[in-house]
Symmetry: D3
Subunit: 228 residues, 6 copies
C-alpha cells in the first residue's frame, strides 16, 4: 500500500542562507517523516528571484517573462533541497504536472519549483496536491498564519486558528494584483482547494512548526472547507 | 516594422459544427485582417470537451486531469481552424508560452489551444496577449457581453457598454469555482489584464461582431482599466 | 518473473458513450486479467475522430494531417480508459514506441492511442505487440470476425473460425486505400504479425468476447501463420 | 511565391563511399535545382544499416528495434549530405513529420532520414511528399526502374516506361514481408501516392538520371494514377 | 549575404548588479554592432552561481550536479541580457548546440548560458564559435588579459599583447582542476580554438574595451595560432 | 541496499565485428557481474565513426558537427550491446546526464554512447562515473595500458602498473588536439577523476582483462590519485 502524500509549499525565504544549514534541517525533517508520508515540496523563489525579477523589470520585460524567470530561480532552489536530501530525493525537479505525476510513482521525496507562468507557487502547489491526491497541503509562508487584519499595520491583529474558505477568498479579493502580493494564498489555489476539498493549513516556514502540523498538533491557521 | 498583434479567445462553441463551414468563415475573417494585424487565436474546448470531461469525471478523475483533457480537445479544435486557414496559419498549435513566442516570430496567424491545467482559456489568452505584447484582446464568448445581472434569470438584464475592471472582479468573485463557470472571464485573466494594461473587450463569438470590434466600432463590453 | 503481455487493439466505437459506463466495464475486465497478464491497449479514434477528420477534410487538409488529428482523438480516448482504470493504469498514454517500451517496464496496464501518421491503429498495435514481445494480439473490432465475403452485402456470408495469413492479405489487397477502409486489419499489421509470428485473433470489441479469448475459448477468427 | 517542392528518396547505396565525392555530386545537383525547386530528400540506410541490423538480429532483437537502428543510420547518412550541401541545407535532419513541416518553412534544402519504425524509407518519403504538398516524388533506387519480371533472374526482362498503380500493387503483394524486400516501393507508399495523387517516378539513384527526370525528360518508370 | 558572427563570452561578473544598468550598457553595445556583426553571447554564472554552488557543495553534491546548477544560473543571466535587448534578441537562451545553430539562423542577437556539465563557459563559447563559424571570439573576463605571471601575487606582472596558443596551454596545465579555477581560458577551449583556427582575444569584460576590440584596435591579449 | 556502480568505457573497436559474437561475450560478462555490480557502459564510435567523420570532414564540416556524428555512431553501437544484453539492459541509450541518472535508478545495466560535442567518450565516461557515484571507472581501450613511451615507436617501451595522475596529465598535454588523438584518456576526464577522486584503471578492451580488473587482480595501469 502506497504512503499518503503531503504537499508542502516552502516559502522562498527558506532558501536564503548560503551555507546550506537551513536546508539540511528541512531535509532532515522530510527524511524523518518519509517513513509515514511521501512528501512533495514546492520551492518558492525568495530573495534571489526578487533580485532577478527587479533587474528584468527595469529593462521593461513583460510580466509573463518575469514569471518565467521566477520559476527558473525556484527550480534552482529546489535543486539545493534535493542536494541536501541526497539519495532520499527524486534527482531532478519535475517541470510539468505530468513529470510530477511520474516522479511520485518512484516513491522518493519529490521537490519541484514553479511550473507555469501566471501561477503563483501557491497555486502550483494546490494543483500538485490535486494531481497526486495529497491527503494534506501545508502552505509554509513567512508569517505565522492568517490574521484578522494586516499584522504589519495593526499591533493588535490576532492570528486565526481557523478561517472559512469563503472568508479567505474575500480577504484576498481586496489585495492588489501585481506579482509578490499573493504569498499567503491566492485565488487559483483557493479554487483548486475548494473543488478537490484538500485539507489545508497556512503556517510559518519553520521546521518545528511543520513538525507540529504533521503530528496533528494545532499550528498556523486551518482552512475550513464549506460543507459539500 | 512588425504588424500589431491581436489576441482572440474563441469560445469552443465556434468549433461545434461538423461541416467546417463556420470555421472557414472565421478563417476568411482572420485572413482578411491579417494585412494589418497578426492574429493569435486561442481556441476553447466546446461541446466535445464537455463530453470527454463528463465521461472522465464519472470515473472519478481529478480536476487537473479533467483540465488536461479539455486542453487536448481545444488543441484539436485549434488544428481544425489551422486547416481552414491553410498556408496562412502556423502549421501546429503551440503547446507552451515559449512555443507561442517562437511561433509569432514567423509572422503567420497563430492558433493555439489551452496551455496549462488550472488555467481557463481566458486566462491563457490573457497571458499570451501579455507575452506577445498584443495591442488588444478580444474575448469572444457565447454571450453578447457583460450584463448588469444574469440575463438567463432576469429578462430585464441590460448589457453594459463598459465595465470597470474592479467591478467585473467583484462580479466574478461571487461565482462558483468548479470548471465551466468562468467562461465570461476569470480572475487570473483579470490580474494579467490589469498588470499589463491590456485593452480588452468581451463580445459574442460571431464573425460580424468581431469585424466591428477590429474596425473600432462599438461591440460587446469594453473593459475599463483603472488609472495607473 | 514478469507477466506475459497481451496487446488489445480496441475499436474506437468502444469509446462512444458519454457516460463512461462501457469504459468502466472494459476497465474491470483489464483489471481482472491483470493478475496473470500485463495488458497493453491501443485505443481507436471512433466517431469523434471521424467527425474531426470530416471537418478538416472539408477544408482541404492533406491526409497526413488527418491522420495526426485522428491520433489526437485516439489519445484522448486512451485517457478516458486510463481514468476508468485509476491507479491500475500507467497515468499517461505513451506517444512513441520508445515511451511504450519504458511504460511497460513499470508493470501497470498501459493504454496508448495511435503513434504515427500513415499507420492505422491496427498497424500500430502490431508494432507494439512486436516491441513488447506480446504473447498474443487481440484485434477488437466492430465485427464478429473475418467473413468469407462482405457480410453487409451478402446475407449468407459465413464467419471463419480460422484464416491463413496469406489468404487475409489477398482479401485486404482488394480493398481501397483511403483512410477508414482498413479497420479489420491492414497490410502493415500483417507484415509485422508475419515477421514476428505474433499469435493473433480478430474479434468483436465486447467484454464478454474478449474474456472468452483470454480464457482460451474460441472467439472471433484466429489468424493462422504460415509454417516458418 | 514559394517554390514547388520535390521529394527525392535516395537509396542508401548513394552513401556508401567513404570519400564523400558521390555525396558532393548529389549536393551539386540539389543546389543546382534549388533555384526552381525546394528539394526534400529522404536518405536510406544502405550497407552500414544492413550491417548493424544483421548484428542486432543475430542477438535476437525484435524487428521494431531493427527498424529503429536502420532509422538511426539513415539519419547519419542524411547528416553527411547536409555537410556536403553546407549553408544550402537545413542544418539537422528532422525527426518527425512535424519537424519536416517546420523545416521546409525555412526555404532551404531539407534532408531527412527515416522517421518511424514499421515504415520503409519509401513509405516515409511518400508521407513527406503528402505533408509538404510536393509537386513530384522521385524514388531513386538501385535499379533503373520497374521491370516486367525480375531482371536478376530473367535476362530478357524489360523495363517499363509506365506502370499503373494497381498493377504495381499486385506485383508488390507477391513479395515477402521481411525488411529489405521492399526497396522498389511498398504498399504504404502506394496507398499514400494514390490517396493524394502524387506524381511519382521510380528511377536509378544516379545524378544524371535524376537531372533528366527533373528536366522532364523520360527517365525510369512513371507511375500512372487511376482516373479519379 | 549573412553578417559575420562574433562570439563573446561574458564573465558572470557583468551580471552582478541588481539594477540592470550594466546590462543595458552591454545591450546598447551589442545593438550598436549588430548592423555589421551577428553577436552570439555566452553568459557566465558569476556571484549567484558561486553562492548556489557553495550551498550545494556543503550538502555533498557531486561536481557534475554543481556544474548543472551553475549552468542554470548562467541561463537566468542570459535571460536578463535578453530582456535588456528587447526585440533585438532571440527570445530564449538556446540550451543545446543544435538550438544555438537554429537560433542564429533567425538573424537576431543570440544569448546563451552554459550548455553541458563538465565544460566551462569558455569551452562552451569556443564550441559555439566553431559551430556558427564565427569570425572571431572575444573572451571577456575579470582581468585585462593574460599576464606573464599571476598579477595578484606579483606587482610587476606584465600584461602580454600577444601569447602563443602553446604557451598559454602550458600556463593552464599548471593550474588546479577544481571548478572556478579556469575563468581565463581552459584546455577544452584551447583545443577547439586550435583545431578550428578561431581568431581569439582575452580581454576585460568592459563595454569600452569590447568596443575597441570590435573596431580592431588593440585590446587585451591576442592569441597567436601556430602556423597550420 | 543498492549495488555499487562500475563505469566501463568500451573502445569503439569492440563493436567492429558484424556477426555480434564479440558483443555477446561482453554481454555475458556484464550479465555475470551484475549480481554484485550495476555496470554503466559508455560505447565508443570505432571504425564506422571514423568513416563517417572522414566523409563529413572531406565536405568541410566543422569539428563540432563531426563530434555530433561520432556521438550518433556511438549510440548505435550502444544499441547493439543493449540488444545483446536483452532484458538485462535498460532498453535505450540515455542521451543526457539527466537521462543517465534516471536510467540507473531502474537498476538494470545501462549502456550509453557519447553525450555532448567537445567531449571525448573518456571525458563523458568520467562525468557519468561522477554523476552516478561509481565505485570505479575502467577505461577499456585498444592498448594494454599506459606505457613509459609510445609503444608503436619504441620496441622497448614498458607498460606501467601504476601512474600518478599528474604525470599522466603531463604526458597528455604533449599530444595534439585534433579529434582521434585522445583515446587513452583526456584532460577533461583527468580533471573529473581528480576532483571526485574516482578509482580508475586504463586497460585493454578484452573480456578476460576486464574480468581480472573486476575481480581485483592487477590488470592494465592503475591511476594513482594525489593525496587529498
Amino acid at each position: 500500500m502506497a504512503k499518503k502524500r503531503i504537499v508542502i509549499k516552502l516559502s522562498g525565504s527558506a532558501f536564503g542562507g548560503d551555507d546550506g544549514k537551513v536546508l539540511r534541517e528541512y531535509a532532515a525533517f522530510l527524511s524523518g517523516i518519509s517513513g509515514s508520508w511521501q512528501p512533495v515540496v514546492v520551492a518558492g523563489g525568495g530573495r534571489v528571484a526578487r533580485q532577478y525579477i527587479a533587474n528584468a523589470r527595469s529593462s521593461g520585460a513583460d510580466e509573463t517573462t518575469l514569471d518565467e524567470i521566477g520559476i527558473g530561480v525556484s527550480r534552482l532552489n529546489a535543486r539545493l533541497l534535493i542536494c541536501a536530501l541526497g539519495a532520499k530525493a527524486h534527482p531532478y525537479p519535475p517541470a510539468t504536472l505530468k513529470e510530477v505525476r511520474h516522479a511520485v510513482d518512484g516513491g522518493l521525496v519529490v521537490i519541484a519549483g514553479g511550473l507555469h507562468p501566471g501561477q503563483s507557487t501557491n497555486g502550483t502547489a494546490a494543483l500538485i496536491a490535486e494531481k497526486v491526491g495529497a491527503a494534506q497541503f501545508l502552505n509554509a509562508t513567512d508569517v505565522d498564519g492568517v490574521y484578522d487584519r494586516d499584522p504589519n499595520k495593526h499591533s493588535d491583529a490576532r492570528m486565526l486558528r481557523k478561517i472559512g474558505l469563503g472568508e479567505l477568498r474575500k480577504m484576498l479579493a481586496r489585495e492588489d494584483s501585481v506579482a509578490g502580493g499573493y504569498d499567503l494564498m491566492d485565488l487559483v489555489a483557493l479554487k483548486v482547494i475548494e473543488r478537490s476539498r484538500i485539507r489545508t493549513r497556512i503556517l510559518r516556514a519553520d521546521v518545528n512548526v511543520l513538525k507540529k502540523a504533521v503530528r496533528g498538533t494545532a499550528a498556523g491557521t486551518e482552512l475550513v472547507l464549506p460543507d459539500s
